[in-house]
Symmetry: D4
Subunit: 252 residues, 8 copies
């Protein structure tokens, strides 16, 4: 926002001083900082505007499209770039335009880490089961790229509630807790009733039958009687990682 | 079943001895033990067949219809009769034909307690919140009419998990545990992970929005990773009470 | 947590010193700080444990039950108490046991404000339409009871997007933004793309037909391409207010 | 309609003049202008009746069936023919019977352009993301075959709302605007609040989890508070292109 | 749009000429033409921007709120104002601030007709049954306030398809056809296969059971094989009337 | 159909003989036999066309509208007229225009019986519970008005399967069996596996929770492994009665 | 039924005459005529009981299981056997045990035609589109195996309603009409409003997006205002063929 | 529970005696008996706590992860271990770490049978069709590993109800009956009305169209009017086997 506001102020100053004609100002107001690839408009400005480097959802795009978008970010001087839901072909295409990219096959992420801010805040990620692993990793990668520390406790199921005990000391000192759980999503209610910090629930599509692809866990988290809990979309590790880092870093 | 089998055996004996003609036997096979009220066929035989006294769902019936059904059971010599979802008008109509009936306004139950078998087995009913009260009572009344002891722990929400601790000693000695919970239904998962006895979950329609009238709690219980848990329909205290008593009493 | 851990530590010290026998310790471990009203177990400890005063959902409880729960909190020395979804009868019953209670008819809230911490952090609440008013108020009351400043901008619909402009300066300086919107929920996506602070979306049941009682707004917020957005349940102003204050106040 | 009415009038004239016997007239009334292929009745008359050349949905048909239907249209003297959802095999089969066909692999369209009317009206197609590309193309091809000019702006997401600015001049001069968007479908609400021309929304199945295969975008568009917006089915570029061209060309 | 663009241009001219200081320009850019009532921001500019007078959805607002919004529009010099879903109390409150308002009890509409443009274009509204009447009227009132002629054919059900015949001459000469239908919504498919003009379907909540409150009609219309058909939300006569008038009046 | 065809033939003969001018014939083709009441087009021809007297769904119509429609049928010389879902006000309004009407409060039906054909065929209606009574009656009234004999067996629940035995002799001699059942709809599967005659299932909205307003019974009937079973809409006694009578009467 | 009743009568006669001891009779009552394959109980008696030869759903069974079931029917002297949803492997396995089997790849049916009764009654099958072909064929095969004549009209879409005209003469003379339609299912409403004979609707899973896999067509048919229409499950050609033949053959 | 309580008692004794320092006790309270594999926390204590050996859901885990979890159980001295939803690769990986494992390809189970308690109680499993076989086997394996006898009756469909007769003697003597059924799930209602023992229903995903992947069977079972019936999740043979064995073995 600040950026937009400052741009506008500068433009108005130029108009006043006669450096810029009103017609040209009008033109420049439309020429906002994105880069048009024809099939995509790469928003080079978001990082300044929101403090979050760009993320690209690979699903529904061809490997070539993803690679060209990544290339535009890299050339545009953006900070970190994270590509999610990237299958092998996409990752190969990205590596060609950005050989320095790191990747993780389990969570299908590939990313270029650049200009990560100094670490600030602690995010604790707790998951209900081993199968939630890919979502845990997506959240972790995103949070770390945004500059917060991450501690992970996996497979802390409600059915064996004593396993939660080992995670409690970390939960107590967290600035934000992310709970990743499929099936009944009950872990989020439980942690939501114990933690002082804000809790972000991530329902996962783990489970069959009445799990309804994550909808049951989602609804359970939303209707949980534990206050202090908010939820992102099913399997949305990226979204969880983003808001968790923003919460953990606090006002900047 | 035993009853039917025995009836059939007796009939066949009569046919053999010539006491009964085949035509008449054929007729009697159709004349099974129910009482036809025109709009309802009162099944006087279920108690013998299944060991469970009759329950009448008042919803969708006029007060007069309910009263006449109750009357038929009482006259037919049935054991206990329990009417559920009975509003004031229905309860008044029942009291006229059965002045000895007991009732509970909160759970909208009215019942005639007769021939309750000697108490056997312990059912522990645990509920997540105060609003689950009516379902808890319906389950309790049914279980006690069927001859099991009931201990109730209400308002044991997951958000304040330490409140469950006080209920644990009873849960440990139960023959069957009934968990009544709306919203996210997480209490069932939690108890299901702790109890040795079979656990029956009753999702309730408590909660708004994403609770979806009990569907979220239902699905959460069904997809729970806690084995040893089975579920009855939303708000179905009657069903829970029935199976809980059968489990608790064991083979008779 | 800290409370529980400290209690446990103290207890163990007592056991060691012989002040407390193991049997008694075992007993005391079960005697956790709640108050049993029979139909409700009032959790007097949550405020210490989680820093959030208690909230009571009146829906599904009788006015008497609500009043007795409030009374228990007040007598138990709890901080603020907030009753939501409280119709006229409930509010009257609460006023009898707590004459100092404040109330708001539009949002059906009644509350006793006690020991509110020093104000810290700014929460900006933005709503899409006039009909979202009750949810806005519930969120505002909760946040203020938890000790954060609240600024509200109502009726900032997407269909007239220029109306959002006036809210932008406040959005820029917020520690947390709450977006309350029914129908298509598009305002949350829009604000989510503009704000630097964490954004909490509250879908409302405003709208008819394809609004599906808030489910459309909920799903739209969850699937929004705007990162940095998390969501609470439909019409859940209480939940939004809780997490927003926790985020805005930061680590305490 | 006009065609049917005129045919009927001519037939009645023939009956009156005795050229046609009533029996024969009755027969001819049933012999309406379609061509029976056994498994399909090709409607050669629709173009005259409705001014829209035929479109064939390939899904659920064998390549041979599609090819024979196309052949019947071509031989029957129809205008343009557009086959949608045509995979490689279908397109190959069509090319054999119509070597002059043009095709587009991304949107799986293949078409024979014939007798396109003089261009009239401007349709502006705006899409939310790169992944909406196939639907954008299907709409564009259909609109152009129907004789309207098309201008496309892709990847104009709500999360970076300033990207919409560059599209505004075209939106202002459009006779009809088509908005193609998946996930939360918020772009349609936004454009619907800005455009003077009728807006046709096309929800797409882009997005995962709470996108529910396009249902969320669909519902969001339907419940949008922006008046002047109507919607076609999920991913239905064909339907959008058809009504957009009809609107843009106006009364003919 | 034009309005906003012109305002901006004028402002920039003022800045250049020194009439307006940059700081003041910045301020005025935020002071866009709405009127803040606290609970509502009345958008006085939409009429200029989109050519559609304002509509107010009364549902979810108190009668007083509606009356004050209407008052603001009337005082702000807006054109026509239409209040929909207005029950008796709302209509009484509106009549007090605008005694000249006309109203229709069946469709629960109340409106102040002012500055209606010269009639242009013909909209034909066809409905499936008598029960669709309220939606038909809402659409008709809206279209007429926007300056198009309306002809209505009610109760043209598919089950007696010959009843459609009498409506055909009007359908043939329409600039836009609106089809209002509940239950199976089949009338929209049928008309969509006959009309040359764009067809706007309005599913209604008429019907019980499998009609699912209008969802069946909605889905049927969306999946209809009739091209040239787009759909508005369930019971949304207002939306249908708006887009129909825009289509019928054409580019202005 | 026959009627339409014959009309057309007669018209063509008139045209040929010169008795009717083509222009007039065209006009008369549009003037099909319905009566336009403004808000309703009464189809006086359906009885001839389909052999079924008219049925009027009162829901969503004002008592006056229903009365005027009934009046039109009566004056138009139609056969029987049946009004369904008619509350007290509607029935009173109908009695004023048709004092000879018979009515049934439980099923909310009111009807004028005229020209019922000679009885032919036997329809056996079997219901699962007392609460299904209103639907049973609606089906029975409709079937009898259409000229078939009806035998009813109520409250033949699956849970007490021996109660079905008494109904079997009638089921064996039926020309069509109608099974009315809510909740799990299992009775339809059971009868469908026993009957030789075609079986029509009517799911009812009886039951709460997982009955989902009749959807569960509907789906259960549709997915039943019993062949020879088809289904009408939830609570649609009218539809069931209509097709049952057509089946039972056979080709006429 | 008749069979069961007769068996029972014979058994009772034997008991009376002393030919059979009661114990043995009891035993024989359990030994009903099915053949136990371990994983399947082949019901050799259904043909006698219901007049319908057996149908085997191959889905979810291994080819070997299907082959052994078919073998059991063939050896058991059953009449025709029809296997549906049989992929290539299943059909190959069936051909090995029944080389005389006929098959149809499009509808994935394979069948052994034996003892088909003399043809009686006419079933007219009308479909909306070419893609409905497999369901049309399944219905046709089943009906013909049950001994009714079948006439098929394919691709009679509502969007080109005049194509229905050619089918009308056959529809008029049918004993039962089967309408097969996906998408909006509107053809069933239309035919239901024209035919005198009972109409059986078969919704198909043809269509994408809002077709919801056939659910939209299903609901549209169920809520159709056309009386005289009943519906079978989605894509259930078998069920439609069964009831259609029973209706067409009439009482036997 | 007993285990936990005993551990705690022992710990407290140690603290009292000075053997253990409070700090160490605190530490040990967190060090509960699970084994941390990084991606999984193996709960070695559940068998003692709940009397049920561990089950591992292979779905969503890599073969290596499953193998390492199994290995940990085996090395940790657990009793039986059962892996469900294990495809060929998983089973191969498990066999490498546990060559003694038994497996069943149809139900995709692999298990190591160790320390099975003396057989107690009889569970009768009844299934509706051959396709329910895999779920039947999963339930059987689980129940037998838990130490109850299992008798299976497969393919006892409601459409041929006499096939149930042969299963009745076993049902009568069962301690718990498990009913496995897809499609309409009617078998559960039927058995629920006949059995004296508790009945556990397992809805299966068998069936297409309106079976909705098992949801119809699930809802039908939940809403069944047969009391004494509780339900586990769709296809959840494991859950059914667990609770059935607990019920059948009774209090231990």
């Amino acid at each position: 926002m600040a950026g937009l506001r400052d741009d506008l102020r500068a433009l108005l100053d130029d108009v006043r001083s006669g450096t810029t004609a009103p017609e040209e100002a009008l033109e420049r107001l439309s020429a906002l900082p994105f880069r048009d690839l024809g099939f995509a408009r790469v928003d080079l400005h978001r990082e300044l505007r929101q403090g979050a480097p760009e993320a690209v959802l690979a699903e529904g795009k061809t490997p070539e499209q993803v690679a060209r978008i990544v290339e535009a970010f890299v050339e545009g001087g953006a900070g970190s770039v994270l590509v999610t839901r990237a299958d092998q072909d996409v990752r190969a295409a990205v590596r060609e335009v950005a050989p320095e990219a790191e990747e993780d096959a389990l969570s299908r992420c590939i990313w270029i880490a650049r200009g990560i801010p100094e670490t600030r805040g602690l995010v604790v990620v707790v998951s209900a089961g081993t199968s939630d692993g890919p979502v845990v990793r997506e959240a972790r990668i995103r949070t770390e790229l945004l500059g917060s520390e991450v501690v992970v406790h996996e497979d802390v199921g409600v059915a064996g509630i004593h396993r939660l005990a080992a995670a409690l000391p970390d939960i107590e000192r967290a600035d934000c807790v992310v709970v990743v759980a499929g099936m009944d999503g009950a872990l989020a209610s439980l942690v939501g009733g114990l933690a002082r910090a804000p809790v972000i629930g991530v329902p996962t599509s783990v489970g069959y039958g009445s799990a309804h692809g994550g909808t049951t866990a989602l609804n359970a988290m939303l209707t949980s009687c534990a206050a202090g809990l908010a939820v992102v979309g099913i399997d949305d590790g990226l979204g969880a990682g983003t808001i968790a880092a923003r919460i953990a870093r606090g006002r900047e």
